[in-house]
């Protein structure tokens, strides 16, 4: 059970870092997905800032969860975020079925469908498992290891961003530009 809890915690942190890195590679595209859930009159600049904020929040939470596993309050925050994912996927399924959610930027072309709800529920269940008490000896990480984990986490986000950018080169539509 201990392994399961720690694996769930690690997996959620890694997933957040990949999602954040992929979103940060093309925040404009993610902003288009965010626009689906905000009032039409919201200024585009505000939507872009919101999209960037979401990506940075995921990055911060993923990095913090990976480098500070003993901080139990982080588990609750991540569970809250997972609940938001479930709400968004249900709302996306209800109102924007078939539209790309860009939850992992260009890394995934998943759309709002039944599976997106199932996936977000699985993430929420993972967050619940990560909230369970693990022996303190297993999660007490010294400062040096914290730094190592933090660097590894940020490196993962950079790699995810690079991979998303590489995929976007092939996936991006040919854009007509006036001259």
């Amino acid at each position: 059970m201990e392994i399961l809890i720690l694996a769930a915690k690690s997996a959620i942190a890694v997933m957040l870092l990949i999602a954040a890195g992929a979103k940060l590679s093309d925040p404009h595209s993610f902003a288009a997905a965010v626009r689906l859930f905000v009032p039409l009159r919201t200024p585009p600049r505000l939507v872009r800032i919101g999209a960037l904020g979401i990506a940075l929040l995921e990055l911060a939470l993923g990095a913090a969860s990976l480098s500070s596993p003993a901080a139990s309050w982080l588990n609750a925050v991540i569970f809250g975020l997972a609940c938001v994912f479930v709400i968004v996927s249900v709302a996306g399924f209800a109102f924007h079925r078939g539209r790309a959610c860009l939850c992992f930027g260009a890394l995934s072309r998943r759309e709002f469908d039944t599976w997106s709800i199932v996936r977000s529920v699985i993430i929420a269940v993972g967050a619940v498992v990560g909230m369970l008490d693990a022996p303190s000896a297993s999660v007490q990480v010294g400062p040096a290891l914290r730094v190592v984990l933090l660097i590894a986490g940020l490196l993962l986000a950079v790699v995810a961003s690079t991979a998303a950018r590489a995929l976007a080169i092939a996936a991006a539509p040919t854009r007509p530009t006036a001259r």
Binding site: I3, I18, L149, V159, T174, T177, R179
Partner: protein, 209 residues
């Protein structure tokens, strides 16, 4: 020094995630190399007059004349059944057409492969759009269709509005928009990246099967 169990588990999770991402990038790199082609090499210049040409209608073998202009915008697609990227484009054009997004313009698929090659591709076989076979090398030269797939958007006045490689439905829609431009507007389509198949358009001679 004893390493906490979380670190051991987390390092495996990180290793797994990094491996997956590296595989994604490696595959993408392979795709980029297999489809690499210098940009700007394909298609007639934007703003130039589209050339007329003869072609053989594949459905009944009748010789036809294509004359651009006359008020009807045209989307020309240079494709080959033997080219994998072309299959993707034909499928995308078919999907966009079925969605009703190509209404108001003529779509003509042009190939230089013999008509019997249609049998090797399910996508081409089941395509309901008009398919023509190029009858002279001059057409390939006039449209600079030296590699496929190539899309050319021609407006109702017979001017080229955009030209370049395409595969995805979104790209087809972008070309459709270019077709419908007013004569006053000048557009160029900036390809998102080199992506044409290395398959070269063969020197076509009708009846050479």
């Amino acid at each position: 020094m004893r390493i906490p169990l979380f670190v051991a588990v987390a390092q495996w999770a990180l290793l797994l995630a990094l491996s997956l991402l590296v595989i994604v990038m490696y595959r993408q790199l392979g795709h980029a190399f297999s489809t690499r082609r210098p940009a700007g090499e394909l298609g007639p210049p934007v703003g130039s007059s589209a050339a007329g040409f003869d072609y053989m209608r594949v459905s009944d073998g009748a010789l036809q004349r294509f004359e651009p202009g006359g008020g009807m915008p045209v989307l020309l697609a240079f494709v080959e059944p033997s080219c994998q990227a072309c299959e993707k484009l034909v499928a995308a054009v078919g999907a966009v057409a079925r969605a009703g997004d190509l209404s108001g313009l003529r779509v003509l698929l042009l190939m230089s492969d013999p008509p019997s090659y249609l049998q090797i591709s399910e996508v081409f076989r089941s395509c309901s759009l008009e398919i023509g076979r190029i009858t002279t090398r001059a057409t390939v030269v006039a449209y600079k269709a030296t590699a496929t797939p190539l899309l050319v958007a021609i407006d109702g006045q017979g001017f080229v509005r955009s030209a370049g490689p395409a595969i995805e439905a979104d790209e087809v829609r972008a070309f459709r928009q270019a077709c419908l431009l007013t004569p006053a507007a000048t557009l160029t389509v900036v390809p998102a990246g080199p992506r044409t198949d290395r398959h070269e358009a063969a020197d076509p001679v009708v009846g050479s099967e």
